[in-house]
């Protein structure tokens, strides 16, 4: 990027505050023609607010925006889109009950004499997906495909408009490596065609992989704008966290705490030939006391489905399950909880949060359910538990009575973790515990897993990020096509796992 290309989007002196919080203060942001521009910052840095102003969800209280030299202040996402600015959001913001084709073309369906042409629409949608290298039956309902695919559909939708500016708000948070690369290929192609893209992500690798420039925000203020190739990784992290680089060293890959020579702990949970029609074919799995077992595999390999069987959400068709040597029917989550299991779902929104209830209530819910309806946890004790975990897990919330929907994703995740930790479970199943949360919170959660293990807790760790699985686990069970294909212990490295996954 020697000669800066012309500016396509230019925001100056943006300010926005909400009762009690200044979300943006004198922030500038520039997007140039044909670039991928990473927008970086910790949670609460103001990225979301900035994006929502650009896309017309909020209105700025101060400052100006120009799109291709003309003043631009969209009153709604519709106006923004009409002016040439499209957005892909972190949480898939599509209509789960409609078909893929409609989701791509809703609002601009091909029409003849005012009537929607379904055939033409399906073809156009299929073409839009083809551009992303995807082949899907576009008639399928959106909710019947994985979240990753849904995200691709969202991208296809955003690209289908003749967009001048594309904003990608954490589009990769639920994509696996292969899918990410497919997306990046597309992004590069679009860049070469002159599209201006703003890219928000928590993955540093991806920033360095694909972006040309970086804008860093912190606490609602602009830290600076940098060329990617001139900003070393550590420096970037330092700028995001507002710390000196020297005090922040990369986390060493902690070796497994229990040496190979120590006597193996007792097996807590043992599953044999676990399966359910349409979900899991056959999985053997054991977790020892104080052991972190990783569950690796591509999306759709049956990781979450296995967890659901273990936790009694779905009933298994075949196979056996033993907890501490006792056969367990696992007919309901209640039974699982009674047997000392806990399950932190990957889908915070629909399976985790009670959004309108307070942090405290969300936190004590499982604990209270364990005690039963009649033995109510006294209010003071609830408060104590809530305060304890808010402090212990560094949950950022004004107080324990705030509705949990007002918290950021990372903090919501911590509350859900705390919900289960408060139960003092023997085994906790963490399904994608770090999805959609920032670097700092991610590291905290990884650290937490380690400390749980030291306290003798067993953990079943599920994540799409292989390096993360390898970092925290002592043993990794690899799934492919809804069955177990291998198990690795001791020397864990990425190549061995990938080999197992890839072995046809």
């Amino acid at each position: 990027m020697h000669t800066p290309s012309p500016e396509r989007l230019r925001a100056r002196h943006l300010g926005k505050s909400f009762p009690g919080v200044t979300a943006l203060d004198d922030v500038a942001f520039t997007l140039r023609t044909g670039e991928i521009h990473a927008l970086m910052g910790e949670n609460g840095a103001g990225k979301s607010t900035l994006i929502k102003i650009l896309t017309g969800v909020y209105r700025a209280e101060a400052g100006t925006i120009e799109l291709e030299g003309r003043p631009f202040s969209p009153a709604s996402p519709r106006e923004a889109e009409a002016a040439g600015l499209s957005t892909v959001y972190q949480e898939v913001n599509l209509i789960p009950t409609l078909s893929i084709a409609e989701n791509i073309l809703l609002g601009r369906q091909p029409r003849r004499m005012g009537l929607v042409q379904w055939g033409a629409m399906r073809r156009q949608a299929a073409r839009a997906l083809e551009r992303l290298g995807l082949e899907l039956d576009v008639r399928r309902e959106l909710r019947s495909i994985s979240i990753a695919l849904q995200q691709m559909v969202a991208i296809a939708r955003a690209l289908d408009v003749q967009a001048r500016v594309l904003i990608l708000d954490e589009p990769t948070s639920s994509l696996d490596e292969q899918e990410c690369q497919a997306l990046f290929t597309i992004m590069r192609r679009l860049r070469d065609q002159g599209l201006a893209m703003a890219f928000v992500t928590h993955f540093l690798d991806q920033v360095y992989d694909v972006s040309d420039r970086i804008t860093v925000l912190r606490n609602g203020r602009l830290v600076g704008e940098f060329a990617t190739d001139q900003l070393p990784r550590l420096e970037l992290i330092g700028k995001m966290l507002g710390r000196d680089v020297s005090e922040f060293a990369p986390a060493p890959d902690a070796p497994p705490a229990t040496g190979a020579d120590a006597p193996p702990a007792r097996i807590f949970l043992q599953a044999r030939d676990l399966g359910r029609k349409g979900a899991v074919q056959s999985v053997d799995l054991s977790v020892r006391q104080g052991e972190v077992v990783g569950l690796a595999g591509l999306l759709g390999s049956g990781r979450t489905e296995t967890a659901r069987l273990l936790f009694g959400i779905d009933a298994r068709d075949h196979g056996s399950l033993e907890v501490e040597g006792q056969p367990a029917a696992m007919r309901s989550p209640r039974e699982a909880i009674r047997r000392g299991l806990a399950f932190c779902s990957e889908d915070r929104k629909t399976e985790g949060l009670a959004p309108n209830l307070s942090v405290r209530e969300n936190l004590v819910l499982a604990m209270q359910a364990g005690r039963g309806a009649l033995r109510r946890l006294p209010r003071a004790e609830q408060q104590q538990v809530a305060d304890h975990y808010i402090q212990a897990l560094h949950i950022k919330t004004p107080d324990a009575e705030t509705p949990i929907r007002n918290l950021s994703g990372g903090n919501q995740q911590k509350v859900l973790l705390a919900r289960w930790l408060a139960m003092q479970p023997r085994l906790i199943i963490l399904d994608e515990p770090t999805r959609g949360i920032d670097v700092g919170a991610k590291a905290e959660i990884e650290k937490l897993v380690g400390s749980l293990r030291e306290r003798g807790l067993s953990v079943l760790f599920i994540s799409s990020e292989l390096d993360e699985v390898l970092r925290v686990s002592q043993r990794v069970v690899v799934l492919r096509d809804r069955r177990k294909v291998g198990e690795l212990e001791g020397e864990l490295d990425e190549q061995r796992v990938l080999n197992l996954i890839a072995r046809a």
Binding site: I313, D314, A315, R331
Partner: protein, 331 residues
């Protein structure tokens, strides 16, 4: 929610089996009494009569239904009963279905006075005579129905007012308890009453008690606070009057003496209240139309021409007549 447990499945399966059974069980117990087909016109053919009733909203209505049904059984007729739950739409639907079913005659107790021409024309085209009971209808073409057997609601209201005028000597502060807004008896009874009032008689408040006892009581309770000086209560039916009597008593008044109470219908409970000295009078509106109605039906089926209207004479019963009449009350 793909989580299905077995008790749920068993329940569902059992329900399905029951569904088939119940629908099958709805049929006639003996095949012979089923609705006859069009073909057999033999001597022994049992006449099939369709009866489209308003609903079962009051004791009066139930008595009417029972009277007609019992009379049909007595005469060996087959009666298909349809309850419209107070809705004209349902009643028209029922009449049309009777026509489709090929009944020999239809008895109709219309919900309202208008809106019958299209469906009665169909009946006429199909050659099915229609006998109207308990209230008239407004049609341009009187040949659409065979006969009408009914009370005159306006006359009932007038009768109540006239009695009240003589009893009070022509001065009264009256609280009127109306029936359901829009219902024909409510409209007519209000009109007849208002027509026959003398200059000294004033309706100081008029509210709807919805033909219900609860309604009569609650409205009366409220009105007593605003108009503590009332001298008479006129209710469009007995149920509301009975409710109002309770409210009067609870307010420390003596219904029947402090406050005169007059109503319409003449149900058994009203007679009991009269015997107890709480209700001063009720205009009988006779629901036992069965014999009259089925007489008319049989004549109409045979093609006899009937008088267009048979007005069932209504009588006013007063307190002093109540004790003698009470044992005769069937409803």
């Amino acid at each position: 929610m793909k989580h299905t447990s077995s008790p749920r499945r068993i329940l569902a399966a059992g329900a399905c089996a029951l569904a088939a059974l119940l629908l099958a069980g709805c049929g006639p117990s003996s095949e012979s009494s089923g609705p006859g087909g069009q073909g057999d016109s033999g001597q022994g053919k049992v006449l099939l009569i369709g009866f489209a009733q308003v609903g079962a909203e009051s004791a009066w209505r139930t008595a009417e239904t029972r009277s007609i049904m019992e009379e049909a059984v007595k005469r060996g007729l087959d009666l298909n009963f349809a309850d419209a739950q107070g809705k004209q739409e349902n009643q028209i639907k029922a009449v049309r279905l009777f026509i489709a079913q090929g009944v020999d005659a239809i008895i109709l107790a219309p919900v309202v006075e208008t809106g019958w021409e299209p469906v009665l024309q169909e009946a006429k085209r199909a050659g099915i005579p229609v006998v109207l009971v308990d209230r008239g209808i407004k049609v341009a073409d009187e040949s659409l129905f065979a006969t009408l057997i009914a009370s005159d609601f306006v006359a009932e209201g007038r009768m109540a007012a006239e009695w009240l005028a003589t009893k009070t000597g022509g001065t009264a502060s009256i609280v009127e308890l109306q029936g359901t807004p829009g219902a024909a008896p409510a409209i007519d009874r209000k009109k007849g009453f208002a027509d026959a009032l003398t200059s000294g008689m004033k309706i100081i408040a008029s509210q709807s008690g919805d033909f219900r006892r609860t309604g009569g009581k609650e409205v009366m309770e409220a009105l007593l606070k605003v108009h503590p000086n009332l001298t008479a209560v006129y209710a469009h039916n007995d149920d509301m009057a009975l409710g109002a009597i309770q409210a009067l008593e609870e307010a420390g008044k003596k219904p029947g003496t402090d406050v005169l109470v007059v109503s319409i219908d003449g149900v058994k409970d009203a007679f009991e209240a009269m015997v107890a000295g709480k209700l001063n009078g009720t205009v009988e509106c006779n629901p036992l139309l069965g014999p009259l109605a089925l007489d008319a039906v049989l004549k109409a089926v045979q093609g006899e021409t009937l008088p267009k209207r048979t007005i069932v004479p209504d009588r006013l019963f007063t307190m002093d007549m109540a004790a003698a009449e009470l044992p005769n009350r069937k409803y």
